[in-house]
C-alpha cells in the first residue's frame, strides 16, 4: 500500500482534499518531503555521476571517434582510431603483455592466498602476528616506494642474485632488464601482495560449519578427501569473488610497470601494460582520441572477461542454501 507512486497519491489528494482527513494529507506530504530529502542527500553523488562519470564516459566515447590533441577542437574521423589500433604493433604487444600478466599473476596470487589461509586456519598460536606480517606487503605493495625497491631487488647486483649466490648459483643477469624475465618480476610483485585475498579466504574458512567436517570424518574421509569434498566446494563462491576482483585490478595495473621500467614499458616493450601504453599515447603524445578508443576497448574487454567468469561460474561455483548465507 505504501508503495503507491507518490505522484498518483498527490493528485488524488488534491482532487479530494475537502473530503480527506487532515492526517492523510500530512502523511502524503511527509512522503513527498522524504522523496525530496533523499534527492538532496544524493545531490553530491548525482553531480559526481553526471560531471565526473557518465558525462566523461559519453565524452570519451565521442572522442574515440575523433582526432584530438587538446590544443585544437576534436575532428571527427569515424572508426579510424579503432582501425589503426588493430594495426598498431605496440598496441597488440600491450594487449599480449597485459593478458599474460593477468593469466599468470591472478592464479599465482590466489593459490598463495589460499595456501597460507589454510595453513593459518589450523588455529596456531601467534595467528594475529603472522596474519599481520603476511598482510603488510598487500598494504604497501601498490606504492611507488615498493616498485623502486623491486627494481633494485631484481637488478644485476640486487637481492635475488645475492641470495642465488648464497646457494651457489652465481649470475649477473639483471632480471628487470632482460625482456624474457622482466614481466615475471612484476608477476612476482603482484603475487607478493596476496595478503588481502588471504584475509578474505580466512574469513570464508571460518564460516564453514564444523559439523560438515565431523560428518565427513565419521564417514571415514581423510584430510585430502575432506579438502576436496568439503573445503574447496564451500569456498568456491569466495574463490570466484577473489578471482573476479583480482582480475579486474590486474587488467588496470599501472604503477609497478611504470616505475620498474622507468615509464617506457621496456625492455623491448616486454612490460608495456595496457594502461601504460594508454598513458604514453594520451598524455605523452597527446593523442587523446586514440587514448579514448583504447580506454573503451579496455572497458569492453574487462566487461567480456567478467561476463565470461559469471557465465562459467554456474559450472563450478557452489552456493549453499539461503540459510547458510550470513550476510
Amino acid at each position: 500500500m505504501a508503495r503507491i507512486p507518490a505522484v498518483l497519491d498527490l493528485e488524488g489528494a488534491r482532487e479530494e482534499r475537502p473530503a480527506k482527513k487532515q492526517s492523510q494529507s500530512r502523511r502524503l506530504s511527509s512522503e513527498a518531503r522524504e522523496n525530496l530529502g533523499a534527492y538532496l542527500f544524493l545531490l553530491p553523488w548525482f553531480l559526481g555521476l553526471i560531471l565526473l562519470t557518465a558525462g566523461p564516459m559519453l565524452s570519451s566515447l565521442y572522442l574515440s571517434f575523433t582526432k584530438f590533441d587538446l590544443l585544437s577542437a576534436p575532428q571527427w574521423i569515424g572508426m579510424q582510431n579503432y582501425v589503426a589500433l588493430f594495426q598498431d604493433p605496440r598496441w597488440l604487444t600491450s594487449v599480449r603483455v597485459t593478458l599474460t600478466y593477468v593469466f599468470f599473476s591472478v592464479p599465482v596470487k590466489m593459490a598463495m592466498a589460499l595456501g597460507l589461509a589454510l595453513l593459518l586456519n589450523k588455529g596456531i598460536k601467534g595467528l594475529g602476528l603472522y596474519r599481520a606480517i603476511y598482510y603488510v606487503p598487500s598494504l604497501l605493495g601498490g606504492s611507488v616506494a615498493i616498485a623502486i625497491l623491486w627494481r633494485q631487488v631484481f637488478d644485476a647486483d640486487g637481492l635475488v642474485n645475492q641470495a642465488l649466490g648464497l646457494i651457489g648459483i652465481h649470475t649477473t643477469q639483471s632480471w628487470i632488464s632482460s625482456p624474457g624475465t622482466a614481466l615475471f618480476t612484476l608477476v612476482a610483485l603482484s603475487a607478493w601482495q596476496f595478503g588481502s585475498p588471504m584475509l578474505i579466504f580466512m574469513a570464508g574458512l571460518k564460516q564453514i560449519p564444523p559439523e560438515y567436517y565431523e560428518a565427513a570424518s565419521t564417514d571415514g574421509a581423510g584430510k585430502v578427501r575432506m579438502f576436496f569434498a568439503v573445503t574447496l566446494p564451500l569456498l568456491t563462491p569466495i574463490i570466484f569473488f577473489n578471482m573476479v576482483l583480482q582480475m579486474i585490478f590486474a587488467f588496470q595495473a599501472f604503477t609497478p610497470a611504470f616505475i620498474v621500467s622507468g615509464g617506457t614499458g621496456g625492455p623491448d616493450d616486454s612490460t608495456l601494460f595496457y594502461t601504460l601504453y594508454l598513458y604514453q599515447e594520451g598524455f605523452g603524445y597527446l593523442y587523446m582520441g586514440y587514448a579514448s578508443a583504447m580506454a573503451w576497448i579496455l572497458v569492453v574487454g574487462i566487461a567480456i572477461f567478467t561476463a565470461l567468469a559469471f557465465l562459467t561460474s554456474r559450472y563450478w561455483v557452489f552456493y549453499q542454501d539461503e540459510r547458510g548465507d550470513n550476510q
Binding site: P5, E31, E34, N35, G37, A38, Y39, F41, L42, W45, G48, L52, T53, G55, P56, M57, S59, S60, L70, L116, L119, L120, K122, I124, Y130, R131, A132, Y135, L139, L140, G142, S143, V144, A145, I146, I148, L149, Q152, D157, G158, L159, Q162, A163, L166, W192, S196, L199, I200, F251, Q252, T255, I259, G262, Y279, G282, M288, A291, A295, V299, I302
Partner: protein
C-alpha cells in the same frame, strides 16, 4: 580421540610454524633490506646481503631529503593536504548518499542503487581523458582540486556501498523514535546515523587515506609542477634523476614514504583486517 589428536598434532604444529615463519621472513625480507640499505654506506648496498651494516648513519636521509629542488617536507605536506581533503570528502559525500540509499524511500531508488553499484568497478581510464580536459579548462592542473573535489562528489562508490551495508544493520527503531520526537531528516542523519556508523566511517577514512597516499596515476597526470608534487610523484622524479651512486638516498626517501601507511596499519590493524575480511576492499 582426544588423546590421539593431542599426540598426533604436536609434530605437524611444529612444521606448520616452521613453514609459516619461513614464509614471513621471505615476505618481509625485501622491506628490511631496503631499511638496512638506507642506513648503510653507499658502497655496501650491493656488495653484501647482510642486514646489519658495518657502520650506519643517517646521511642518506639528510641528503635525500634535500635532493630535489624542494625539500621532501614539501611533498609530505602536499600528500597530507590531498589525503585530508580526500578523507573529508569521502566521509561527507559517501555517508550522505549511503544514508539516502539505506534509510529513505524515493522514486527510482532501485535504478539509482544499481547504477551506483555499477560504477564501483568502472576502470578509471575510461573517464580520465575527459576529466583531464575538464579540469584543465577550469585551470585546476597543478592544484590539488582534481584529486580532492571528486571525493566531495562521492565518486568512490565503493565506500557508499560499505556504508549502506553498515547503516542497514542499525535498528530502525532508533530512527523511528527520533522521528516521533520531531527530528527532521538532517537531524536523523547527523545525530542518529552518523554516530552509530562510526566504525564504518573509520574504515572509510583509513582506507581513503591509504589509497590516496599510495595513489599514483591521477597524481602523475594532474601534478606537473614540482612545487605541487606529492610523495609518490617526487619519488618517481628522484628515481629518474638519480644515478647508481644515490640509491641509498632513494631508499631512504622510499622508507620515509612507507612510514605513514605502516603507522596507520599498526594503529588500526584490527579495523583494517575486519574491513577486508567482511567487505573485500582491495588492500
Amino acid at each position: 580421540m582426544i588423546l590421539f589428536s593431542a599426540r598426533g598434532k604436536a609434530r605437524p604444529r611444529f612444521f606448520t610454524h616452521l613453514i609459516v615463519i619461513a614464509g614471513c621472513v621471505l615476505m618481509i625480507y625485501p622491506i628490511l633490506w631496503m631499511v638496512s640499505a638506507s642506513i648503510k654506506p653507499e658502497t655496501e648496498i650491493f656488495t653484501t646481503s647482510s642486514l646489519l651494516p658495518s657502520s650506519w648513519s643517517l646521511d642518506n636521509y639528510v641528503q635525500g631529503w634535500n635532493a630535489l629542488s624542494y625539500p621532501f617536507g614539501t611533498f609530505f605536506i602536499n600528500s597530507c593536504i590531498v589525503c585530508a581533503g580526500a578523507v573529508l570528502g569521502n566521509l561527507i559525500a559517501c555517508s550522505m548518499a549511503a544514508f539516502a540509499f539505506a534509510r529513505l524511500r524515493f522514486k527510482f531508488k532501485g535504478f539509482w542503487f544499481a547504477l551506483m553499484l555499477g560504477t564501483i568497478m568502472l576502470p578509471a581510464n575510461v573517464v580520465i581523458v575527459p576529466q583531464y580536459v575538464l579540469f584543465k579548462s577550469l585551470g585546476w592542473v597543478n592544484t590539488f582540486l582534481p584529486l580532492i573535489v571528486p571525493k566531495f562528489l562521492a565518486t568512490d562508490a565503493f565506500f557508499i556501498f560499505l556504508l549502506v551495508q553498515f547503516i542497514r544493520a542499525i535498528p530502525r527503531d532508533l530512527d523511528d523514535a527520533a522521528r516521533i520526537d520531531g527530528c527532521n531528516l538532517f537531524q536523523r542523519y547527523w545525530r542518529i546515523i552518523m554516530p552509530l556508523a562510526m566504525p564504518a566511517l573509520a574504515t572509510t577514512a583509513i582506507f581513503t587515506f591509504i589509497f590516496t597516499f599510495n595513489e599514483f596515476f591521477n597524481q602523475l597526470i594532474f601534478l606537473n609542477d614540482q612545487a605541487s608534487y606529492t610523495v609518490p610523484i617526487a619519488l618517481r622524479a628522484f628515481q629518474d634523476s638519480s644515478d647508481v651512486s644515490s640509491f641509498g638516498q632513494l631508499f631512504a626517501m622510499s622508507v620515509l614514504s612507507l612510514i605513514p601507511i605502516f603507522g596507520f596499519f599498526v594503529a588500526f590493524q584490527r579495523l583494517l583486517i575486519e574491513g577486508i575480511s567482511t567487505s573485500g576492499i582491495k588492500g
